[in-house]
C-alpha cells in the first residue's frame, strides 16, 4: 500500500507537479474580468494597477509550464549561514536610508561578501550532487 518517496508509485498514480498552472490561469482570467469591469466603469489607472497584479502569477505559471520539475530529489546543505548574513546585510543597507550613507555602504559591502559566500556554497553543493 505504501510507496517509497520519490518513486512513481506505479501506473495507477496520476497527476503530480505538471498540472499546477490551471488554478493560476483561472485566477488570472477572473482578475482580467474584474479589471476590465473596473476600466469600463471609468477608473483606468486603478484598473491598470489591478491588472498588473496578475502578471507575476502568469509569468510563474508560464515558467512552470516551460520548465517542469525534474522530480529528482536535490541534495541540500542542512544550514546556510551566508543566507542569514545576506538578510542582515539587506536590513542594514535599508536602515542606511535613514541613518546615513555610511550604514548603507556597510550593508552593501556585507551583502557583496555574503553573496559571494552564498554562490560558493551553491556551487559546492551542485558539485556534490554532480559528483
Amino acid at each position: 500500500m505504501a510507496a517509497k518517496v520519490g518513486s512513481t508509485g506505479g501506473g495507477a498514480v496520476t497527476g503530480g507537479p505538471k498540472g499546477g498552472g490551471g488554478p493560476l490561469l483561472a485566477w488570472a482570467c477572473l482578475q482580467l474580468a474584474l479589471g476590465t469591469m473596473l476600466a469600463l466603469w471609468g477608473e483606468q489607472v486603478p484598473a491598470l494597477l489591478f491588472l498588473c497584479g496578475a502578471i507575476p502569477l502568469l509569468l510563474l505559471s508560464a515558467w512552470n509550464r516551460v520548465r517542469p520539475p525534474t522530480g529528482n530529489p536535490r541534495l541540500l546543505a542542512r544550514v546556510s549561514v551566508p543566507v542569514v548574513v545576506l538578510a542582515l546585510a539587506t536590513a542594514t543597507a535599508a536602515l542606511g536610508a535613514t541613518a546615513g550613507l555610511w550604514l548603507f555602504l556597510i550593508g552593501a559591502e556585507l551583502g557583496v561578501f555574503a553573496l559571494v559566500w552564498l554562490i560558493r556554497e551553491i556551487v559546492a553543493e551542485r558539485r556534490t550532487v554532480g559528483g
Partner: protein
C-alpha cells in the same frame, strides 16, 4: 547557529512562529495599555502622542508582524507535509525571508527608542499624516523601513510555498487532491504575490516623500497613496484569514469523522474569493469621494457569495457527522460563529451610505477585531491545538486547552461587542479620551481585554507544561487524521516521509481506513456465509 541558519522548512517555520508570538505579545501589551487608558474618560495615563504611537504600533505589529507571518509560517510547516514533499522549493529564500522579516519587526519597534518615539501615523501610514511635516523624526522612518522589510520577508516565504505546491507535489497528488488547508494556502499566496509588492513600492515612495518630497503632494498624492496602500491593505485581511479557514476546515472534518463536504465548491469559492478580494480595495476610500462607489460596493457585496459557500461547506461537513468536541474543534466552532459577526458587519460597511456613518468610528474597530481576533486568532488557535502534537510529538493538556477556549470567548466578546454600540453612538477611533456618557461600555471593553490576556497566558502555560512534561503523541494522535501529515512520525523526520501511501483523493488516510473497513466487512460477511454453508451441510 545551526538552528538559526537551518534550511529545513520546519525549522524555518518554527523560527517564524517564535518571532510572530514575540511580536504578538509585544503588540498585545500595547493594546492592554490602550484599554487601560480608555477604561474611564479623563484618565490620561499616557499622553495623546504616546497613545498615537500605541495604536499605530499595535495595529502594525499585529498585521505586519504577527498574523500575516503566522499564517504563512503555518503554511511553510504544513504544506510540504500535506502534499507529500520532502522539502520546500527555495529553502534559502524562505530562510532569507524569515531573517528580513525579523529585522523589519525589530526596526519598526526600535522606533520607541528614538527621540520622537515610534511611528504614529496609524498602521496605514496615511499621507499627509506620515510625511516629514506630519510625523517628523527617525521613528517614522524606521516604521516605513520596517514595514517594507517585514512585507518583503512575508512575500518571499509565500513564494516558496507557492512554488512548493506547483513543483513538489508527490506522485498522485493532483491539484484536486490537495487537502483543504493547502488549497487555502495556495489562494493566500496568490494574493500575497499579487499585492505585497505594491506595498513595498508604496513604502519606498513614502520614504522618498519623507526625505526628498514631491512624491505624494496635494490631494491627488494622498489619494494615490491610498490606492497603493489599500491595494495591499484589503487582500492582506484575507491573507490573515484564509489559512485559518483551512485549519478550521481540517479540524472540523477530522472531529466530525467525515470527509470534507463540498470540496470542489470550496476550491471554486477560494478562487472567486481571492479575485474579488483584490477588487474591493476602493471601499476603504468611499469617504474620499474619489472612487467609483458602485463598482467597489458591488464587488464588496459579492464577497458574501464565496463566503456563504465556505460556511455551507463547513456546516455541511458537520451535518450527519459524529462530532467530537476536542479543543481544536471548539476553537474551530468559535471561529465559525464569531467570524460570522465580523463578516455580516462587513456587509454593512460595503454599503456607501452606511459606511459614511460608521467610518472612522469604533464600529469599524469592532468589525475588524471580530474578523481578525474573534475570527482569525480562533482559527489560528484551532490550527495550533490541532497540529501541535504533529509538530512537537507532545499532546497539549486538553482540560487547560478547553478552559482557555472559554476564557478567550468571554474575553473577545466582552471586549469587542460593546465597540459596535460605541461606534454607532459616535465614538471616534484613535482617540485617547471620549465623552463621559460612553464610560460604561468602555469599562466593559477594558475588562474584556484583561480577560483576553488571562486566556493568552493560559495558552502559553499549556504549551510550556505540555513540552516539559510530555504526553507522547503517535503519528495520528486524533485517530482520524485524513491527510498525509498524519502518515509520518510526530515530529516529522528531516525528509518528512520515509514512505507514502497511494494518493487517490484529498483525504488519502481516510481512503485507507475506509478501504480497510470495507475489506474487513467483506471478510466478515464471507466468514458468516461460510459458517452458514457449513451449518446447512451439517443439517443435510
Amino acid at each position: 547557529m545551526a538552528g538559526l541558519a537551518s534550511l529545513d522548512h520546519k525549522a524555518t517555520a518554527a523560527k517564524v512562529a517564535i518571532a510572530a508570538t514575540f511580536f504578538f505579545l509585544l503588540s498585545g501589551l500595547l493594546a492592554l495599555t490602550m484599554r487601560a487608558e480608555l477604561a474611564q474618560p479623563g484618565l490620561q495615563l499616557v499622553s495623546t502622542h504616546t497613545y498615537d504611537e500605541l495604536f499605530t504600533m499595535h495595529g502594525s505589529g499585529m498585521i505586519y508582524l504577527f498574523l500575516t507571518p503566522a499564517a504563512l509560517g503555518l503554511g511553510l510547516y504544513l504544506v510540504p507535509l500535506q502534499i507529500g514533499a520532502s522539502q520546500i522549493a527555495g529553502p534559502r529564500l524562505a530562510l532569507y525571508g524569515f531573517w528580513v522579516y525579523l529585522c523589519g519587526g525589530l526596526a519598526m519597534y526600535s522606533g520607541f527608542l528614538t527621540n520622537n518615539g515610534a511611528g504614529d501615523a496609524a498602521w496605514t501610514g496615511t499621507i499627509p499624516l506620515s510625511n516629514s511635516s506630519g510625523t517628523p523624526g527617525v521613528g517614522m522612518d524606521l516604521w516605513v523601513i520596517g514595514v517594507a522589510l517585514a512585507t518583503l520577508g512575508s512575500l518571499l516565504i509565500a513564494i516558496t510555498i507557492l512554488l512548493t505546491i506547483l513543483r513538489l507535489r508527490a506522485p498522485g497528488m493532483t491539484m484536486l487532491r490537495m487537502p483543504v488547508f493547502s488549497w487555502t494556502m495556495l489562494a493566500t499566496t496568490f494574493m500575497v504575490v499579487a499585492s505585497f509588492p505594491v506595498l513595498i513600492v508604496a513604502m519606498g515612495l513614502l520614504l522618498a516623500e519623507r526625505h526628498l518630497g514631491g512624491v505624494f503632494t496635494g490631494a491627488t498624492g494622498s489619494i494615490a497613496y491610498q490606492h497603493l496602500f489599500w491595494f495591499y491593505g484589503h487582500p492582506v485581511v484575507y491573507v490573515m484569514f484564509f489559512p485559518f479557514v483551512g485549519a478550521v476546515g481540517e479540524s472540523i472534518a477530522t472531529f466530525s469523522r467525515k470527509r470534507f463536504f463540498g470540496y470542489r465548491a470550496l476550491v471554486l469559492s477560494l478562487l472567486l474569493f481571492t479575485s474579488l478580494s483584490m477588487a474591493v480595495w476602493g471601499h476603504h476610500m468611499f469617504i474620499t469621494g474619489a472612487v467609483k462607489n458602485q463598482y467597489y460596493s458591488l464587488t464588496s457585496t459579492l464577497l458574501a457569495l464565496p463566503a456563504g459557500i465556505e460556511y455551507l461547506d463547513l456546516i455541511g461537513t458537520m451535518v450527519g457527522g459524529s462530532l467530537v468536541f476536542r479543543a481544536p474543534m471548539l476553537f474551530a466552532l468559535g471561529f465559525v460563529l464569531q467570524f460570522l459577526i465580523g463578516g455580516l458587519t462587513g456587509i454593512v460597511v460595503a454599503s456607501p451610505p452606511l459606511d459614511y456613518h460608521v467610518n472612522g468610528s469604533y464600529f469599524i474597530v469592532a468589525h475588524f477585531h471580530y474578523t481578525l481576533f474573534a475570527g482569525s486568532l480562533f482559527g489560528l488557535m484551532a490550527g495550533l491545538h490541532f497540529w501541535f502534537p504533529k509538530m512537537t510529538g507532545a499532546m497539549l493538556r486538553e482540560r487547560l486547552a478547553k478552559a482557555s477556549f472559554w476564557v478567550l470567548v468571554a474575553g473577545a466578546n466582552l471586549t469587542f461587542f460593546p465597540m459596535f454600540f460605541l461606534g454607532y453612538d459616535g465614538m471616534p477611533r484613535r482617540v485617547a479620551d471620549y465623552e463621559p456618557r460612553l464610560g460604561d461600555l468602555n469599562l466593559l471593553s477594558s475588562i474584556g481585554a484583561g480577560v483576553i490576556a488571562i486566556g493568552v497566558v493560559m495558552v502559553l502555560v499549556n504549551i510550556v507544561v505540555s513540552l516539559r512534561r510530555r504526553e507522547p503523541a503517535g503519528n495520528d494522535p486524533w485517530g482520524e487524521g485524513q491527510t498525509l501529515e498524519w502518515w509520518t512520525t510526530s515530529p516529522p523526520p528531516a525528509t518528512n516521509f520515509t514512505s507514502l501511501p497511494e494518493i487517490t483523493s484529498y483525504a488519502p488516510l481516510l481512503d485507507l481506513r475506509q478501504a480497510a473497513a470495507a475489506e474487513s466487512a467483506s471478510d466478515l460477511s464471507r466468514h458468516i456465509w461460510r459458517q452458514r454453508s457449513e451449518a446447512r451441510g451439517v443439517e443435510r
